[in-house]
């Protein structure tokens, strides 16, 4: 029993990062109708950003968020100007197709770049507090992972606040709902797209940093994280960032439960089952509009 509880706890902890990883993908897809399949590679880059800051300058990995997030915002803006901005000029049907091509190309390029810069080895960031554990009854909670879950929730909350209070946050939501109506209210929707893509990339960078602190990073983690994020987006539906976070927790729990029940290999299968079942039964997702 306590073994299962321990596994579920670990599932919940990584689930918070699934939620954060999915939030960026969800924002970009909801606003631009563009599926960025390189989202996982952006997460990977964020992880290496933190790794570099720690290895070269001794920056604490949690503190490195203060640099990784603005850096990722900038990277997102550059990627929009250089690549994805052209995609949104096309009609919606061609948009998905083009964004897939651009995304796969970008994913391959970033993977190759990462191997070049950091080799194919798995990297982690050692810290003095890395092994700290909080014991509650028979459960032992790794403090670093608890911190990443908490930070993921804080970042999602901040995003939610930004989208509901900030003038351009409202513009981003309006553009996601109806881009023509948004134009009619005077919103420059290209700017809303740019902001959404930059914010989505910043969320990816933050997620990558937290993944690297709590687990590890290697050039090949991108695809896996894109898949996890995609499953969570389908599970949670579009329109609510908090809902996306909860969707991430659900996926983390479901993975842990199926691994505990059927054995380790089933961890990866449950997500795909969720993907198919949700699309068949409730295509809007759990919290989608």
């Amino acid at each position: 029993m306590s073994v299962l509880a321990q596994q579920l706890l670990l599932g919940l902890l990584i689930g918070g990062l699934y939620g954060l990883a999915a939030a960026g993908l969800s924002l970009v897809f909801g606003v631009m109708r563009v599926l960025n399949v390189a989202h996982g590679e952006l997460i990977m880059l964020g992880g290496y950003g933190a790794f570099w800051l720690a290895a070269l300058f001794g920056v604490d990995p949690f503190a490195s968020l203060v640099l990784v997030i603005p850096g990722s915002l900038l990277l997102g803006a550059l990627l929009y100007w250089g690549l994805f901005g052209f995609v949104v000029r096309a009609h919606e049907e061609t948009r998905i197709k083009n964004s897939l091509l651009i995304g796969f190309g970008l994913a391959l390029a970033l993977h190759a770049l990462a191997v070049r810069l950091w080799t194919a080895d798995e990297r982690s960031i050692p810290t003095s507090y890395g092994g700290a554990v909080l014991s509650v009854g028979e459960l032992s909670i790794p403090l670093v992972r608890l911190a990443t879950l908490t930070l993921a929730l804080v970042l999602i909350g901040a995003l939610q606040l930004l989208l509901s209070r900030w003038r351009w946050g409202k513009a981003i939501r309006a553009t996601a709902e109806d881009w023509q109506a948004a134009l009619l209210t005077g919103i420059d929707i290209r700017r809303a797209y740019l902001l959404a893509f930059a914010l989505g990339t910043a969320l990816a960078g933050a997620a990558g940093t937290l993944v690297t602190v709590a687990y590890s990073v290697s050039p090949s983690i991108g695809l896996e994280w894109t898949l996890k994020a995609l499953i969570v987006v389908v599970l949670a539906g579009l329109g609510s960032m908090l809902g996306t976070f909860v969707g991430g927790l659900v996926l983390g729990l479901a993975e842990a439960a199926s691994a505990a029940t059927f054995g380790g290999p089933y961890r990866e299968i449950v997500g795909l089952v969720i993907f198919v079942v949700v699309l068949a039964v409730r295509p809007r997702g759990l919290f989608g509009r």
Partner: protein
Amino acid sequence: MLEIDGLQAGYGDVRALFGVTLSVGAGEIVALLGPNGAGKSTLLNCVAGLVRPRSGAIRWDGQDLRTLGAHLIVERGVALVPEGRRLFGGMTVQENLELGAFASRAWGGRRAGLERVYTLFPVLAERRRTAVQALSGGQQQMVAVGRALMASPRLLMLDEPSLGLAPRLVAAILEALVAINRAGVTVFLVEQNVPAALSLAHRGYLLEGGRIVGEGSGASLMADEHVRRAYLGPLAVRTPSPQGEHQ
């Protein structure tokens, strides 16, 4: 004033407007009438910048609007209440209205704008925190008109604002348009409800098959044989009493 000259527009192989020329003078209420598929929405969307014309001119106070982005056309003081309202359904009444003031010409004055809209439609003030999805059709149309007014337009265009509304609500919306016009806003109104539109319009145009086929003052169009046959039904042809339809 708005001047449209030789406007041609379409969608792919479908041609919708075949050289439309019309004008809307400052302070006027002008109605654009015509059957389904005549091209009325296409024309308004061309002015608003949502549809790009193939040729022809659209001038607003002498300035060419054809190459301006839709959001910049709003900045010039031209607002459209689109067909089907197109509200932001997940947001509240007040959020929808505030977004209407997004243009920088209006953002600073959005508080005063809200007050104006709530004075015009008091029922919206009571429901300001309600999601627009939960409103009745008539209230949603008020939000749509209110949202466009929030941009503090000098030209307000409306695409079939009375569609699907009960007569009492149609009257409420049209009364509001008269009040808006009295406050100095030029109104360009697309309607299928011809008697209602002509009762308040100074002038009107008839658009059929993408071409202007008639124009005149509200009263003269109301009395026009073709208008009566095509838009007011066969009974109206035999009992011509334009005065009765007026006011």
